[in-house]
Amino acid sequence: MILKAENITKSFSNGQRILTVLRGIDFELPEGEIVTIMGPSGSGKSTLLNILGTLDKPTAGDLKINDLDISRLRDRELADLRNRTIGFVFQFHHLLPEFSALENILIPSLIPRKNSNLADRALELLDYVGLTEWKDHYPSELSGGEKLRVAVLRSLINRPQIVLADEPTGNLDMANASNLIQLFIGINRDFKQSLVITTHNPEVADIGHRQFEIVAGKLIQRNS
């Protein structure tokens, strides 16, 4: 099991009242599986994904990645874990506008002090999504769909065990959303990539080997 979350609870306080968004969620992610999580806006999908991605801490509960208790890790160790083990894809591409497509893909590989030259892998990934000729183009010169595909490739460059995608199609038209869904299916099939995708798009949810829905702060499996 790559990722195991037990009894995850997350509450927010505004000083007067406490709002509990996640209520005792148990979640496991095995290798090579796509898990989709549905739910309306404000249901806590992004909060759960942030906790699974170590960007946020649960109010209660345990999170283990590769049997490593996340709550025991310091900031530097968490950053290193994120860099090596987790890839993120967001609703907005968040590509760095000062870097070309190829450079954007390579950024995560440049962060560790002892970094390896993954330029060839980045070019292979670009070729995989048919964007080789756009490698030297800046984000402002790419379409919305192309930007998001580059963002997906960026999340894959360090060969992470987990890719977390937070409503990745939320900002795309139907055609581009469909392309992105095919890309996720492809990288899972070809690279045995584990994915956790939050969405409110049923088409995206359907690609999950296991499909969940957050209802009243609880994670409920939709398929068996």
């Binding site: 090596r84 967001f90 907005f92 950024i107 962060i111 960026r154 937070d166």
Partner: protein
């Protein structure tokens, strides 16, 4: 570091299409350049004036002074021995005392009379006098002569009020011609100093049983402190060795304080400019919140984010400081070579603004500038580390 440098360079002044931070960035660069320029030029001018004063004081007194409380110690013999070993280039025995100078119209003035060896006075002291033909004469400060309405060739009377031959009655009086006037242009020497020959001094200062001291001058090749140490090692007990800096410690410590004060006050310009740099970097951070957030999700640590801002600050601030340092150093060099900034000679004695930069200034001033730049950058960097990636990545374009 390589990664931080890469990001810092690309994010420079907010990256693409960031007009506001570019504008404030340029203001910060100009501010730092002005601050460093002002600091360097001010220190160079203070150094220049200090060097002029030092040169004048040394020229008027010598590099070191030997004195002895015990009149039985023969200072002239000691000085001659030092000269013989090559430790000193030349020496000048002297007697010094307050005396009254009186002109033909009975105008009187209290002055300091220094009796020295007239045969080498013009070579030993820098008085602006070529030679003195009459050893039994007076060399008078220019302002004293003007106040006494006395010109070279006139005779003046000298009286040392405490030197009475019999211990009571009238003091000894000498009537000597003025051989020349000198212009030391330092402190109030021109207004209170008179030179006479040693034999005349012995006649005038009847109560003195020995010379007061000996001024020593080193060769140009010797380091004063090194020479002093060697001299102190060989002179007998009871002989005091003092440098010109010790003889005028008040003046030179005042000049040092003035320099320290100027550095502190003018450093405030750099401090303000570095705060401007902080604002610029804070603006860059604000413009790059999303990018900083995404970098954090990709594994950049908080210190890594701080490092990116620090590098940006060092590049922006370093550019400003370097501009200020280069332009001011060039100005100092130009002034030294050509004297393009003139001074009214009737007020300042010298015809151009003196400017000198020492190696220590060229080290200390950039150190001050870069310390303040690092401080300003770290403040902005620390703010940037507070960005929460989970919030930053939710921000829309």
């Amino acid at each position: 570091m390589k990664f931080s440098l890469l990001i810092a360079k690309r994010f420079m002044l907010g990256g693409r299409g960031s007009g506001a931070s570019r504008f404030t960035g340029w203001i910060a660069i100009i501010g730092l350049a002005v601050g460093c320029f002002a600091l360097i030029v001010s220190v160079a001018v203070l150094n220049g004036f200090e060097a002029r004063v030092t040169d004048k004081v040394v020229g008027f007194e010598g590099d070191l002074r030997l004195t002895a409380r015990d009149p039985a110690i023969d200072l002239i013999e000691i000085a001659a021995a030092l000269q013989g070993t090559g430790l000193v280039q030349s020496y000048m025995p002297f007697m010094e005392r307050k005396a009254l100078v009186i002109n033909d119209f009975d105008d009187s003035r209290m002055v300091t009379v220094k009796a020295v060896d007239f045969s080498k006075i013009t070579s030993f002291y820098k008085l602006g006098v070529d030679s003195i033909s009459n050893n039994n004469s007076v060399l008078m400060g220019l302002l004293v002569s003007q106040r006494m309405n006395a010109i070279p060739g006139d005779r003046v009377k000298l009286i040392s009020p405490i030197d009475m031959p019999l211990g009571f009655g009238l003091p000894r009086m000498l009537r000597l011609p003025i051989a020349a006037t000198f212009r030391a242009e330092v402190l109030d020497y021109d207004d209170r100093m008179l030179f006479i020959s040693l034999p005349a001094g012995r006649q005038l200062f009847v109560r003195k049983t020995a010379i007061d001291g000996i001024d020593l001058r080193f060769g140009d090749q010797q380091f004063p402190e090194e020479a002093r140490t060697r001299i102190e090692a060989v002179v007998p007990t009871g002989v005091e060795v003092r440098s010109w800096a010790e003889l005028h410690s008040g003046l030179f410590s005042a000049m040092r304080m003035e320099k320290v004060g100027a550095i502190m006050v003018l450093s405030l310009i750099i401090l303000v400019a570095s705060f401007n740099l902080t604002s610029t970097l804070a603006l860059v951070t604000y413009q790059k919140v999303r990018e900083i957030g995404i970098l954090r999700t990709m594994g950049v640590t908080r210190p890594g984010i701080r490092r990116i801002l620090l590098i940006q600050g060092l590049i922006i601030g370093g550019l400003g400081a370097a501009c200020g340092l280069i332009i001011s150093s060039a100005l100092v060099l130009l002034q030294q070579k050509t004297g393009i900034i003139p001074l009214p000679t009737e007020i300042y004695i010298i015809d151009s603004l003196p400017m000198i930069l020492y190696l220590q200034d060229i080290i200390i001033i950039p150190l001050i500038a870069f310390s303040l730049i690092i401080l300003g950058s770290l403040i902005a960097g620390n703010r940037a580390t507070l960005i929460q990636p989970k919030e930053a990545v939710q921000m829309e374009k």
